[in-house]
């Protein structure tokens, strides 16, 4: 908790302004154009800089601080430390301690040193109106920023792992597909071979053996290539490691001008001394890699000779077969094809096993990823229930998990186009009962029966839809598609009986503010500046929600309200009322003091003048009599 103790402005629209701001609630009132918003925005500008506020606020500041006006804020921070912030347009802010020392290391604009919450009325409305999207989520996430950052880092990491895994899965699947096509092309050569009439005249045994051997030779070559490739990668990694080791061990701990430079130098030497043995080990590894590469080359040479002799032997036998009878030629060719088929089948088997391993690994990667996203929602629920406790019963804040799912829905809509089925809307509605990871799994394993059971589309339709999805949706992308929460901020608009909660977006302008204020008030302990909409707030809710919350929370945080509603200063017992006025050229604080001291002005400005006020009191009196 910290406080804005004082604001001073030199020049601009509010020249010579100097106001001490108390703990608790300060209300700024005044006619349109009297400088209320300028005062509020000047505080935000001085503390948070220009990047923190939306454009219309910055425009206001630029117009009203022009001509070299300087805003000075005195802040009372925890531990009774005082800081002074001075900031003008187009110049770097200055942050000073109470004894006048400048603090350079703190970047005020990051908003972590003296955090301040400020909301202009368009900002409040924007939060109210944005049902889906990041604005409302940010409102909650900022209160758990450390944890959120940690989760997002882990999420990014697990997304990378998922991507890498998906790449490998796709490669394996493509290769399996290729192999399957090749196997398909060969057709049922085994059956054709066994259908051939036996014949003793053909010297087939050698031929068969050699044909098979040739397939094996090809795979031997492929394996040698793979080992070569891996060794090369390993050697590159080693080079990288060597460079990194040099960087690490040659690091200097000491600071040149430091008194401790000498002491630290001996540790530098110790570090540097470690480099040599490390390099020795690394080059020993390099030697081993080169040795292995040599061995592979030798192996290649060795089998190369064997392969050549197999090839020439096979060529000889093929020539023999060519010269032999028709049947022998056919048999020879079939034998060769069977051998190839066998090779392909074995290769496919190996790849399938690899694919299975990849998919198994993916399962746990995926689960970790999704559960991590769930954690974000759980954190938000925590924040929401904290806010709910403070905000009172009129307002309800809930985390609607997975409700910001437009991307997912769009993916389904697009994919459905190719399905040659009717009533897309109805289908999408039914499909949106399935979680992406579930649908992805059905697509991946082509489980039409479960798909039908879960959607009740009927057999024919289910088949068509699933086929279309298999065609155009990548299940690996689908299963981890990001779906966000919707933050429901609702106001109970019923005046008794059954509650009737309406989302902030569907409320009137005044009600929007009423729904959001308790939540903005409850968010944290730092000073809060609220510029209320000019609209009349709905008096019916004001007392129950806003006034109550202000009264309760003003002990916890400093609040500065620009208000047009007399209930707030009067009923929430403002500690200071600032009455602003302007002659059109400059604005001034015409009067400042307690509610009692500013009674005249409050009645004048907020109650529509004395006469209207009396009239109203009379009516109330007759109504209650």
């Amino acid at each position: 908790m910290w406080l804005v103790e004082k604001i001073e402005i030199s020049g601009g629209f509010l020249p010579g302004l100097s106001v001490n701001i108390p703990r608790g609630l300060t209300c700024i009132i005044g006619a349109r154009g009297s400088g209320k918003s300028t005062l509020a925005e000047a505080i935000r500008f001085a503390v948070c800089g220009a990047s923190a506020a939306p454009k219309h606020c910055i425009d206001l500041i630029q117009a009203n601080l022009a001509g070299g006006a300087l805003v000075t804020i005195t802040a009372l921070a925890e531990g009774s430390n005082r800081y002074t912030i001075k900031r003008g347009l187009k110049q770097q802010p200055v942050l000073l301690t109470s004894d006048g020392r400048a603090i350079d290391a703190v970047d005020l604009d990051r908003g972590t040193f003296l955090p301040l919450d400020a909301y202009s009325s368009p900002e409040i409305e924007a939060i109210a109106d944005e049902v889906l999207g990041q604005t409302r989520r940010n409102l909650l996430d900022a209160l758990r920023s450390e944890q959120m950052r940690a989760i997002h880092l882990s999420l990014a990491e697990s997304a990378r792992a998922l991507d890498a895994n998906a790449d490998r899965v796709r490669t394996a699947q493509r290769t399996i597909q290729d192999l399957t096509e090749q196997i398909e092309e060969l057709g049922d050569v085994r059956a054709r071979l066994s259908a051939l009439a036996p014949s003793d005249r053909e010297p087939t045994a050698d031929f068969v053996r050699l044909s098979r051997q040739q397939q094996l030779n090809q795979r031997e070559n492929a394996k040698l290539d793979a080992v070569d490739r891996d060794l090369k990668t390993l050697s590159q990694t080693l080079d990288q490691l060597r460079k990194e080791a040099q960087l690490v061990f040659k690091a200097r701990l000491g600071e040149e001008r430091s008194d401790n430079a000498d002491m630290l130098r001996q540790y530098d030497d110790l570090l540097a001394a470690s480099l040599q043995p490390v390099e020795k080990h690394l080059s020993a590894i390099g030697d081993q890699i080169r040795k292995a590469q040599g061995a592979v080359a030798q192996a290649r040479q060795g089998v190369g000779q064997a392969h050549t002799s197999h090839a020439s032997e096979l060529a000889r036998l093929t020539a023999v077969n060519e010269a032999a009878s028709e049947q022998a030629r056919v048999r020879a060719s079939l034998e060769q094809q069977v051998a190839k088929l066998q090779g392909l089948e074995e290769q496919r088997l190996e790849l399938n096993a690899e694919l299975q391993t990849l998919l198994d690994r993916r399962k746990s990667l995926k689960a970790t990823h999704i559960l991590m996203r769930d954690q974000i929602s759980t954190l938000r629920e925590e924040v929401a229930s904290e806010l709910q406790r403070e905000a009172g019963e009129r307002v309800r804040i809930r985390i609607m998990r997975n409700a910001d799912h437009l991307a997912y829905q769009q993916m389904l809509v697009d994919a459905l186009r190719g399905a040659r089925v009717r009533n897309h809307d109805e289908i999408i509605t039914a499909l949106m009962q399935l979680r992406p990871e579930h649908l992805a799994q059905l697509i991946q394993v082509n489980d039409c029966a479960s798909f039908e059971e879960l959607t009740s589309f009927g057999k024919e339709r289910s088949r068509r839809i699933l086929d279309a999805f298999r065609e155009s949706i990548d299940p690996l992308t689908l299963e981890v598609i990001a779906i966000e929460d919707r933050i429901a901020i609702e106001l109970n608009v019923s005046s008794g009986g059954q509650p009737n909660f309406k989302d902030a977006a569907d409320l009137s302008r005044g009600q929007k503010c009423t729904a959001l204020l308790p939540i903005l008030l409850a968010r944290r302990d730092s000073p809060l500046i609220i510029d209320q909409p000019e609209d009349n707030l709905d008096n019916h809710f004001i007392f129950e929600t806003v006034v109550n919350a202000v009264q309760r929370l003003k002990r916890r945080r400093q609040m500065i309200f620009i208000t047009h509603n007399a209930n707030i200063p009067v009923l929430a017992e403002a500690d200071l009322v600032l009455v602003m006025n302007s002659d059109g050229r400059v604005g001034v604080v015409e009067k400042s003091g307690t509610v009692d001291e500013c009674r005249e002005q409050i009645i004048d400005l907020l109650e529509g003048g004395r006469e209207a006020f009396h009239l109203r009191s009379k009516r109330y009196a007759t109504a209650t009599a």
């Binding site: 689960a367 929602s377 998990r401 409700a403 009962q433 489980d447």
Partner: protein, 371 residues
């Protein structure tokens, strides 16, 4: 499917529902078909916002009329509070398929769902409680002396037979300087983990303080104020602490509200009975002063320390065994080794209860001064 403890099943399904939704569905349908308390408990324990996936599993499982009858009520109850979009849609979809029911039926269903949810929660709670009891029992077992310091002229031993629910009985032997032996027996109010923890702090305080001074009244006062400050208002313990000095066979003691231990002394005309009553009130309840008592033991004396679990052990007509029966029985054991006296007495108390469930821990400590 292997029958699994519900909590493991629940955790497993949570993970499975993300990893392998098809398999999760298969496992849940099996659970649904086997029905019974495991299903009710599962349905009762998945109401947290984070469990949307599991509730969706239920919503997607309505295959036939029987499923609907069993699950619809839960779905209706969840629908009101569901915050997960997919689950919301799945529940709405599932309920839409049901016949339009009258308002009365809906209300009834709702009531049933609330009740079953409550029962499920209660069962989950009880499961936790059982584990708590295990912990409490473990704590208690570690508190009983693991080793008996040997003394030349004293034959002694002790045993606690815990009740099914862990009570708060406690006994301890402390090896003190100059051939002295500390003997403690006590009973902490309440049961379960709270009692076990208080017992632990009692033991720790006693062990820390006993080796320091030799004024037992002062010692008990310190223990009292430690326990008084450390424990909640309504928790207290009875504690009897004595020190036996082998050099003069004197037993110094303070009795803080515990059932007075009994000394049996064989004499020419029968058996004399003494009770060790000097002390003060129970510890932990009031700030009090204590008085120290002293009793010169003679060779052949039998000292029996016990908790109310022994004296109040009941038979199935709710009749108590009582202190008198205990003393009468102990008289018959004169001359036997302490261990023998202890086992026989415990057996007698149990024999009296004759199979009626044991309500409280039963603790017995027997000392015999050797001739």
């Amino acid at each position: 499917m292997q029958p699994q403890p519900p909590e493991i099943l629940y955790e497993g399904l949570r993970q499975l529902a993300v990893e392998d939704p098809r398999e999760a569905r298969r496992v849940f349908l099996q659970l649904l078909d086997s029905g019974g308390p495991a299903l009710d408990q599962f349905l009762g324990s998945i109401s947290s916002p984070a469990d949307g996936r599991l509730r969706q599993l239920v919503a997607n499982a309505l295959r036939n009329h029987r499923d609907k009858e069993r699950l619809a009520a839960h779905l209706i109850a969840w629908q009101e509070i569901e915050t997960d979009e997919f689950t919301c849609r799945a529940i709405a979809g599932a309920l839409q398929g049901l016949d339009a029911r009258s308002a009365a039926q809906t209300t009834l269903a709702l009531e049933v769902a609330r009740l079953t949810t409550a029962i499920g929660r209660e069962m989950a709670q009880r499961e936790r409680l059982n584990r708590e009891l295990e912990i409490a029992r473990e704590v208690q077992e570690h508190l009983f002396p693991q080793r008996l310091p040997s003394l030349p002229d004293l034959d002694y031993c002790g045993r606690c037979r815990p009740a099914r629910e862990v009570g708060g009985d406690y006994y301890d032997f402390l090896e003190l300087p100059e051939g002295r032996l500390g003997i403690a027996i006590g009973d902490v109010s309440g049961k379960g983990i709270g009692a076990a923890l208080m017992m632990a702090s009692l033991e720790a305080s006693l062990r820390a303080l006993a080796s320091v001074g030799d004024d037992l009244a002062e010692l008990m006062q310190q223990i009292n104020s430690l326990v008084y400050e450390a424990s909640s208002a309504n928790r207290y313990a009875t504690l009897f602490y004595a020190e036996y000095d082998a050099r003069n066979r004197r037993l110094s003691y303070v009795n803080a509200g515990h059932n007075p231990p009994v000394i049996l002394r064989k004499s020419a005309d029968g058996c004399q009975i003494f009770r060790l009553e000097t002390g003060g009130p129970v510890v932990g309840l009031l700030r009090e002063c204590y008085q120290q008592g002293s009793f010169p033991l003679e060779s052949g004396d039998l000292v029996v320390l016990f908790t109310d679990g022994i004296s109040e052990s009941m038979n199935d007509t709710n009749e108590e065994w009582g202190e008198d029966r205990l003393i009468e029985f102990a008289k018959t054991c004169h001359g036997l080794p302490a261990f023998e006296v202890m086992t026989r007495t415990l057996a007698a108390a149990e024999g009296f209860a004759a199979g009626a469930p044991q309500h409280d821990d039963m603790t017995l400590v027997v000392l015999r001064v050797l001739p």
